[in-house]
């Protein structure tokens, strides 16, 4: 491991946070709030990294009133296959209610522009503005920020407890090592370099690092989240498709692509497998010029793409595609093993998209609200717990013997000189994970075929990584993360022999009540799954009919 063994930056801290999005920033702030010395290391730039900074999402800021919170808990409960837990929702909503308004306060903003039930909805600020405020606040709290510093492996002590991480500062061209009493993994999910908006920093690194350290994942079978985007673009903003008319190439209106006013991904996917699909935003009041003006103001990033290609989305037809957002707005991630957002490995906590989102989203997407609530909630809970863990270890935390546990894609084998081509590996993974007929419409045969190819890629990356430049070092390791994440997703998908949440099995089209459990998944060379019971019984539906939302 040549490059990582060169002299570099070495820091001791109480808490190391890995990541640079909202969950990571909140975790850093929460740990600092409890007196911990905190370092935050991000692959990109804290403020611009991750899906949220490039896009936006409103959190569920709701006071502790049953009538107001129940609709949130039940909105996607059945859609997620009753795998969410209402007790987790309660805690996440409590934290979010306390913390989310602070963003407006710190930024010097007045009441948010929208109201829900007469209460502020906190969704006026764009992601990039929110993250600019968060960065300022993280700095103010005395947290040391390492930008452009991808983490490449976790460090563990003699007992196997996570004790820090190592990575590379790609703009300083030197390795970094942070020894810490606790690590919060908030490095984002995995969108397999699809270029879904803001998602290319999310390559599953945290999942790989956690499993190498002895951790496990959960709900990886719920990772087939796709979002429409204008063809050739990156703009996976889905909210406005509620105003869409869909057309085929001949101009014929395509019905049934929305369900209860919201887009249906699988219906769109079916049409896209047949031919081209076009959209105009002219339904549900979008033909009103004032509404168009409002929609322009509300999502500048959505409109930006149309301005640039010179298309009026409200009057003209434009072609769409579906881009994979994977676990970023899907569900799978590091398994949370306790109420503190702790994992199965001592010293390792997980938050945001890097963690499983099954606890409040079940098997369904948490786009437009639940995801941000999870980011704020889990970020704070993990940050607090990591700081407490550091305090309980005291001085001995940084005196421990530590060793790096990164292997594939990081350490060169002594037995061979052969190297693998990271870009070719990435392409190979994408050929299995992008196609709609492989990932959305799953069958045992399809999953087995894909897993066979992914296993070949796993063998391929056992060769030596190319590490001549910082970029090569990072890309070689990312490629391994992408292969690993795809294998976990499809292996879990093979094991769940039913249709539930976003996991669709053509050969098992029904929900099976006997499979109402989580699926833990892990392993590197040899994969495994294990059912984990949902500790809450199904909460009965209130009398009011559930509204189907597909954000």
């Amino acid at each position: 491991m040549n490059k990582l063994n060169e002299p570099g930056l070495e820091i001791n801290a109480d808490v190391l946070v890995i990541g640079g999005g909202p969950a990571a920033s909140w975790a850093a702030l929460a740990a600092a709030e409890r007196g911990a010395k905190v370092v935050i290391a991000d692959k990109g730039y804290l403020g611009a990294s991750g899906a949220f900074a490039a896009s936006t999402s409103g959190a569920k800021v709701i006071p502790p009133i049953k009538e107001l919170r129940d609709p949130v808990k039940f909105e996607r409960y059945a859609l997620g296959g009753h795998l969410a837990q209402h007790s987790w929702w309660d805690r996440l909503l409590d934290v979010t209610f306390e913390k989310a308004p602070k963003i407006y306060e710190w930024g010097g903003y007045e009441t948010p522009p929208y109201n829900t039930n007469g209460r502020p909805a906190y969704r006026g600020l764009q992601g990039c503005e929110t993250m600019r405020i968060m960065r300022k606040q993280v700095k103010k709290a005395g947290v040391q920020i390492l930008d452009h510093s991808p983490a490449l492996e976790l460090l563990v002590d003699d007992e196997g407890a996570v004790s820090g991480a190592r990575g590379f500062q790609r703009q300083e061209n030197r390795p970094w090592t942070v020894k810490a009493a606790a690590v919060v993994m908030a490095s984002g999910g995995c969108a397999w370099l699809s270029k879904a908006l803001g998602c290319n920093t999310n390559t599953g690194d945290g999942l790989l690092m956690a499993v190498e350290a002895g951790g496990e994942l959960s709900s990886m079978e719920f990772s087939a989240h796709y979002v429409p985007a204008p063809k050739h673009s990156s703009v996976t903003k889905s909210a406005y498709y509620r105003f869409a008319s869909f057309y085929d190439e001949s101009g014929k209106v395509l019905d049934g692509l929305t369900k209860n006013g919201h887009r249906s991904t699988s219906a769109i996917a079916k049409e896209l497998l047949k031919g081209k699909v076009y959209v105009t935003l002219n339904q549900n009041g979008a033909d009103n010029p004032d509404m168009q003006k409002l929609l322009r103001l509300q999502q500048p990033n959505f409109m930006n793409a149309f301005d640039k290609i010179g298309v009026d989305p409200f009057t003209e037809k434009w072609e769409i595609t579906l881009l994979l957002e994977g676990t970023v707005r899907g569900v799978g991630g590091i398994r949370i093993a306790n109420k503190d957002c702790g994992t199965t490995v001592p010293g390792l906590f997980a938050a945001g998209d890097a963690a499983t989102r099954e606890l409040n989203c079940g098997g369904f997407t948490g786009g437009a609200g639940p995801n941000m609530t999870w980011a704020i909630g889990s970020g704070n809970i993990a940050g607090w717990a990591a700081a407490d863990h550091a305090r309980s270890l005291g001085q001995k935390a940084t005196e421990r013997n530590v060793r790096g546990v990164g292997r594939t894609g990081l350490v060169s084998s002594t037995e061979t000189d052969a190297t693998y081509d990271a870009n070719a590996v990435v392409k190979g993974v994408q050929e299995e994970i992008f196609p709609l007929d492989k990932n959305i419409f799953r069958t045992e045969k399809g999953l087995l075929d894909s897993l066979a190819k992914l296993n070949q890629l796993w063998s391929e990356v056992q060769k030596n990584p190319v590490q001549g430049t910082a970029q090569e070092l990072q890309r070689s390791r990312e490629a391994v993360g992408l292969v690993a994440a795809a294998r976990w997703a499809y292996f879990a998908g093979l094991e769940r022999k039913e249709t539930r949440g976003m996991h669709k099995r053509l050969d098992y089209p029904q929900l099976d009540p006997n499979q109402r459990h989580y699926l833990a998944v892990g392993g590197l060379d040899k994969l495994w799954t294990r059912p984990v019971p949902v500790p809450e019984a199904v909460v009965p539906q209130p009398a009011k009919e559930e509204v189907a939302v597909h954000a």
Binding site: G20, A48, E129, L297
Partner: protein, 112 residues
């Protein structure tokens, strides 16, 4: 993807080098940064949003390189348009944007 750093507008502040989450740019002492790894550009438009002098243009096409012409972009008002729409340009603020949203919402209701 990122297609343009205007040589006449760029003030060599290297903010884009710092903020680009996928590390697309390399700084050049005393000169404008270079687009060193264009294919790594994830088309998030954030360099454009952060550029203090509207010198950058990220085309909407995320997967293929497209030719752009600076004068043409200026004529169409597209250089710096995203920053303006966010309220990040001088004399503007996201608050102004949100106030306009409030006004319009009074007229047509919340979109959803």
């Amino acid at each position: 993807m990122i297609e343009l750093i205007s040589q006449s507008r760029c003030i060599n502040c290297d903010i884009c080098v710092e903020v680009c989450p996928t590390n697309v740019f390399d700084p050049v002492p005393g000169e404008a940064p270079v687009i060193a790894r264009q294919s790594d550009c994830q088309t998030c438009f954030l360099c454009e949003a952060y550029c203090p002098v509207d010198a950058m243009f990220v085309a909407a096409e995320a997967h293929e390189h497209v030719e752009v012409n600076e004068e043409d972009l200026i004529a169409k008002g597209l250089l710096g348009a995203y920053r303006r729409n966010l309220g990040w340009n001088k004399g503007n603020s996201p608050e102004i944007r949100m106030n306009e949203m409030r006004e319009l919402q009074r007229k047509v209701g919340a979109p959803f």
